[in-house]
Symmetry: D2
């Protein structure tokens, strides 16, 4: 994807937060707030370009993080701050095989596909499955296998290094996950409400150790000369993340 998509950004420190345009299709002219950019300019990779009204912009090839931010969202997706926390806490890496169940748009799977060996993605909803497949294709991902399957009923595979639940009733799949994980592996459950986390934690079996349940807050600061203050209004909640770990067969 990156070959053909571009980021058009404002120059230097002129704007904050920075103004960015994402160009998916460089085979035709692109309109922005202050004019039009010609398709021949869009093909440039790292350059200064001008709109037809003479306004200066910079253009560079988009990268995976840029493309990822524009994936299709059928449902609420897990924000990057939480994805980062899950990677850092579980330590999943290029040798890891993981399962995501109920991801909705497959956002988590798409992002971590770069970091792990293989992902199996379960969903039972046809619409969600379609969104996931669309995102995998548009991001040119090769190591996610999408399955229409119900994680509450069973998990066919074994020996996962990590399993992520983004489910309305995650406690219903604890037994299945426990069998499908390696010893030392992590079961992570992501829930918008604390009552779901409560029921999940209270249902954990003896072979799953409750490591921690956390919520992550990202607070953004405005910094401009002497004006240094947190942004007034911001996202204060996305989800609670529970980490459990399989400690025995």
């Amino acid at each position: 994807m990156a070959k053909n998509s571009r980021i058009i950004a404002t120059k230097g420190k002129e704007h904050f937060p920075p103004q960015e345009y994402f160009v998916r299709d460089i085979s035709k002219d692109f309109s922005i707030k202050y004019g039009k950019i010609k398709k021949k300019d869009l093909k440039k990779k790292n350059s200064r370009i001008k709109t037809n009204t003479g306004k200066d912009y910079l253009i560079f090839e988009s990268q995976f993080v840029d493309d990822y931010k524009r994936i299709r969202r059928g449902a609420q997706i897990i924000p990057l701050k939480d994805i980062g926390m899950i990677i850092a806490t579980t330590g999943i890496d290029k040798s890891s095989v993981i399962l995501e169940a109920g991801g909705g748009s497959g956002g988590f799977s798409c992002f971590v596909s770069k970091y792990v060996k293989k992902i199996i993605s379960y969903d039972i909803d046809d619409e969600s499955l379609e969104v996931i497949r669309h995102n995998i294709k548009s991001l040119e991902i090769k190591n996610i296998a999408v399955k229409k399957a119900d994680v509450y009923k069973k998990i066919d595979e074994k020996n996962f290094d990590m399993i992520l639940f983004d489910l309305p009733e995650p406690w219903k799949a604890i037994e299945n996950a426990s069998k499908a994980l390696k010893v030392g592996g992590f079961l992570v459950s992501y829930s918008p409400t604390i009552v779901q986390s409560q029921q999940f934690v209270n249902t954990l079996t003896d072979s799953l150790m409750h490591v921690k349940t956390v919520e992550m807050t990202e607070r953004m600061w405005k910094i401009e000369g002497q004006v240094v203050r947190p942004i007034s209004k911001s996202i204060l909640h996305s989800g609670f993340i529970t980490f459990a770990r399989k400690i025995s067969k």
Copy 2:
């Protein structure tokens, strides 16, 4: 390392937060609060074991995340919540070559070594360099090159996908970083005080776009039956993270 280190954990839901022992050396008996574990038991990989006083524990091979948590800390290290955020925001991956300057204990480099292709780690302090080398060796990391070099003076290499500053005066190395980064690459600066972030952001050159400055809070919850509440006392601050991006040559 994982081959020879073990985690000994309490069974099931008995304790929260879970009691964990890390065994570095399995060639001799290991003492814990409630008795001793024989070395022949320590060699087991995924088992239930008993102390000499008859108390039950579980044992499993430690993984990278377990080993990482026990590295040597010469200076304050960047916590995992912030490392996760940096990975997720910059999207560094197995094709990335990155520079860390001033990391003190090399914690960031050690952790992300699993996710990137190559890391160059600059420090000028001999004691820090020794701690970094010790940690690299004990975690058996192969892709970090440690250099005694002063990032305020120059950066020898070019074309980094990401540069991380964990420096007292990060603004002094902006020019050097700007030249050493790829277009589209990220310059990340980590500072305990907001005044450092302010000076860093206000010194950014035109070719570096200020993406955002954030602080991440991890709040842990206690969940035990009907007792569902945030942990009363917790870490409320570690550092401010500024993300800048190179948008032109």
Copy 3:
């Protein structure tokens, strides 16, 4: 004011957050989203009433807190969460005489007028002075004296129990405040940016002890059956509050 203003509220648990209408003028009919309420109904004090379309509402006399929330705002006013913190930290009470300087809309003075003996309110801006006077009149407050005066130049009065600064450059008035306070009294400075707090604290004279600088966050939860979660988007920042205390003549 309360005699003639009313709150019209939705019945019971039907809506969250609750739908509330504030009626300033009960001498004419009042229109709401679902119809009209007749002026004879508006005169009722604690009753169930119906709109002309048959929809049920409750009506009750507004109280000071209700009226206060509808004051005129020329500038950003200090939110109630911060006003509460200032009252609770300084302990100002019905025997206290206090000074507010630069309050913009006089919000703080209006609210605490109920709790203290006397307030003097300084401002140099004619527009602000008009807003303050308007608010004092509409809330029928008797113990605030408004003065056009420049606190950077001098403070005429002595022996204040508390002085509140809501000023762009609060450090310029520290000397004056120090002279005008009682020993044991508090100087409180409210600033949107941390750089202002920094300069204020670093300028404090020997006779003023820096008690603390804090920021207060109010996080609201949604609770509806099993849906229990923080509100996603919310105010994350209003101002930093510095408390200093006069400890010697």
Copy 4:
């Protein structure tokens, strides 16, 4: 109390957080870390004094806020940040008659006694009742009536402007509170766990409107020259505060 208690403080900006000693009994010498202060010096009201080792201190009469911070605590007390929020949200004032039920140490009642007309304080536990009475006496408070009574069973009085619950099962007393409140009055429930708040809110009757449920965070900053950063470790949770309002008879 203030007549006979003193605060001894370090001079100026030497220490942060400031070092403070509270002297309850000025009829005998007082020992501090750096020496002893003679009783004749303790009687001074606003002065510089010296220890026998020649170290300088300042002394001033303690005020209500100082005395309040030293009350006896039989149970966890509601922190000042939350007391401030309750005052500011309900607008209770010198005309208000309020009820506190289950306060443990009576901290809330003692503090707001300065702001309201009359408080009735219910508790069923003899030990708690003793602590409350001790605190009322030592703070010389005249407008709190302590009663051994069970709020789950009944509330004898009527027409309260505000009722505060600090109870393990606050939902059991909702009906009683509803009858005992004025229309427009507030029922406030303070709970350490969110499950208590959930059950409380879900049990609210039709005549009680759920205004909001919040948690307040106070984050303290260190400011010393260029070192400007939040304090690393801090209290991250005390309690959830639910505000409900009586909207009909």
